[in-house]
């Protein structure tokens, strides 16, 4: 989930008939007006912000399928994008995915209000995995905990650790020529969050009925194909404790014969990294593209279609 500007997403949700319909569906299952809450939200990953992101990605994926005439062979979504992929594959209805997004967000929020308050997730770029592992081994040697939460590209990672370790860690990264990017609070994707996973399974996911996906969902954790209802549920649960491994997901897509990626929704990362842009023809499907007036087909294009 890329932080998206309020104005951009709000405009899209007001103007696009497809997004407006999904917003109405969301309003019917929420106990508040999405647009009102989204406007007031201060956090980039607020509950309303997550629902707005879900609507935009889902509407844009449908728009791409219908307007660009795509017949997708499979779908995938990294981190929060797992929920969008599950909705797109029809494993959950859209309204259930809204309910699930809200329920998972509230469960996470209440968990991190009391647990792991000092843990953050730091993004770092331009550092080989070997150098990163050496730095993390040094931290371990000093008795300081850390865990790789996201493998984003061959040299871009997100690492969870206690806030007090950050300064030493980022200094060590910079000494190798790597560059620390942003810090996320609360953290995400770590084996340390096993009790959150159990709570999510018992208190949230037990209430949802998943269906068999109508097309394979490629796991953002290991690149395996999710093709059953139970595997779709497990994907969301293991996403709490397993790291995202986006290069593995991309490799798997390539091995399955995929050559073109349509990245639906606001994206500043997953469709742009070298592993994606260097191996696929990447088409960014964002709200600006969908709102652009479409020119009528030329004669030759009409004939070809």
């Amino acid at each position: 989930m890329s932080p998206a500007g309020y104005a951009d997403l709000a405009k899209y949700m007001m103007v696009s008939p497809r997004a407006r319909h999904l917003r109405e569906v969301a309003d019917s299952v929420l106990d508040y007006s999405l647009m009102d809450e989204y406007r007031k939200a201060k956090e980039a990953y607020s509950e309303a912000g997550q629902v707005a992101f879900l609507i935009s990605c889902f509407a844009l994926a449908e728009w791409a399928q219908q307007e660009l005439g795509i017949e997708p062979g499979l779908c995938s979504g990294a981190s929060f994008g797992e929920k969008v992929a599950i909705a797109y594959a029809g494993s959950l209805t859209f309204s259930d995915t809204v309910r699930l997004t809200v329920a998972m967000s509230r469960c996470e929020e209440s968990y991190f209000r009391l647990e792991h308050q000092d843990v953050v997730t730091q993004s770092v770029a331009r550092i080989p995995e070997e150098s990163l592992r050496e730095i993390l081994a040094d931290l371990t040697g000093r008795g300081e905990w850390s865990d790789i939460s996201c493998f984003i590209d061959d040299d871009i990672f997100m690492v969870s650790m206690c806030e007090q370790s950050l300064e030493k860690f980022t200094a060590a990264v910079r000494a190798t020529g790597g560059i620390p990017l942003g810090v996320m609070r609360p953290p995400m994707h770590s084996a340390a969050f096993g009790s959150l996973r159990r709570r999510m399974a018992d208190e949230v996911l037990a209430d949802f009925r998943f269906a068999e996906p109508r097309l394979p969902i490629i796991s953002d954790q290991d690149g395996s194909a999710v093709v059953t209802a139970e595997a779709a549920r497990s994907l969301l649960l293991s996403g709490i404790t397993q790291p995202v491994n986006w290069p593995a997901a991309l490799r798997s897509m390539r091995e399955r014969g995929i050559a073109k990626l349509y990245v639906a929704g606001p994206d500043a990362l997953f469709g742009r990294v070298r592993s994606a842009a260097g191996s696929f023809d990447v088409v960014t499907v964002n709200q600006r593209m969908a709102l652009r007036p479409r020119r009528p087909l030329k004669y030759a294009e009409r004939k070809a279609s």
């Binding site: 993004s123 770029a125 331009r126 871009i156 200094a171 990264v173 910079r174 000494a175 020529g177 790597g178 560059i179 620390p180 990017l181 942003g182 500043a268 990362l269 742009r272 990294v273």
Partner: protein, 82 residues
């Protein structure tokens, strides 16, 4: 003042800066579209273009906040590389 090469490389990472708009020294680069991956790409292209390598305290988000700060950092490294 920076050179033409710096301006060209920096502008290529600023999607919201129009071609006829001036690149002011105190321009907020993030507001004009320099995001995290843009910073990484810009860093690599600047290092290659000037034959330098930034390390340690130069590799913070502050270095990439404004053109003047970024150029001052590069200039220091270019001088010490000579």
């Amino acid at each position: 003042m920076w050179d033409e090469q710096f301006e060209r490389l920096l502008r290529s990472q600023l999607p919201f800066l129009e071609a006829d708009e001036a690149l002011a020294g105190d321009l907020n680069l993030r507001e004009f579209g320099l995001d995290s991956l843009g910073i990484v790409d810009l860093l690599v292209s600047l290092e290659q273009a000037y034959g330098i390598r930034l390390l340690d305290d130069d590799l913070t988000m502050d270095t990439f906040a404004e053109p003047s700060v970024l150029w001052a950092t590069l200039s220091r490294q270019i001088s010490s590389a000579k």
